[in-house]
Symmetry: C2
Subunit: 110 residues, 2 copies
DNA sequence: CCACTATTTCGCCAATCCGCCAAACAGAAA
DNA sequence: TTTCTGTTTGGCGGATTGGCGAAATAGTGG
């Protein structure tokens, strides 16, 4: 097994680890609906500003989201669309962009 | 937001968290090639028996793998095939079952 | 320049996770 | 029964993570 395989696995693990927190998953679900500024993400989240900011930096470090300054605000957007696809594959209710397909009933992952 | 959405998000987060560790990711990659007994997984892993067993129990609790007793051995298999699909989507080298498609070159995740 | 808003970083503490060792447990064989 | 092999579980030290409030930073307006 090459050492690049190990490095790559670590990077992938970082992606999963970043998604392995309900608050960050909530943020990603929201971002599936399009760009959001930090203040909007704070509104939908339970924690405070610093907490949300930290979650966002974790997601950014993993390459899952990208940020961009718009005047006084910072906008975040999903940088890894296949994350959304995978969430749909897992099925379940909390989906922000999968109402079109008839699937996604209960929280059963197939 | 319904409380079932929160519960469901926690379960999903548990799936991601379980995959958010290089050793467990390595195990999942191996299981993409088919059933493996614990002793085989210990061989390909860096840690000892107890460590591998604990990783397996985490994966099982998240619903990612299933186990079955075969005589004296316990066999584990992938219970969530879409995990493999998602890994392919992330691209990169350490793939155990994606040599067919021409994609998956470097460790770049699109 | 100062004040204000939006956001990030810093320090702290509690909680969780990781890997190891030893012990426990289950099943097959003697 | 005892013994052996394969696997899981309990406990410990050390490292990492999560969330909060306070402080720092960046950009805008007066």
């Amino acid at each position: 097994m090459s050492s690049t395989a190990i490095t790559c696995r670590k990077r992938r693990a970082a992606i999963f680890k970043a998604l392995g927190h309900p608050a960050r998953l909530r943020i990603v679900e929201e971002l599936r609906g399009g760009e959001r500024c930090v203040c909007e993400l704070v509104d939908i989240s339970a924690g405070g500003w610093s907490t949300v900011s930290r979650h966002l930096s974790v997601l950014k470090a993993a390459g899952i989201v990208e940020d961009e300054k718009h005047g006084l605000h910072v906008h975040y957007r999903l940088a890894l669309p296949c994350v959304g696809t995978f969430l749909d594959c897992l099925g379940g209710e909390p989906a922000s962009a999968s109402k079109a397909s008839g699937a996604a009933k209960s929280c059963k992952h197939a």
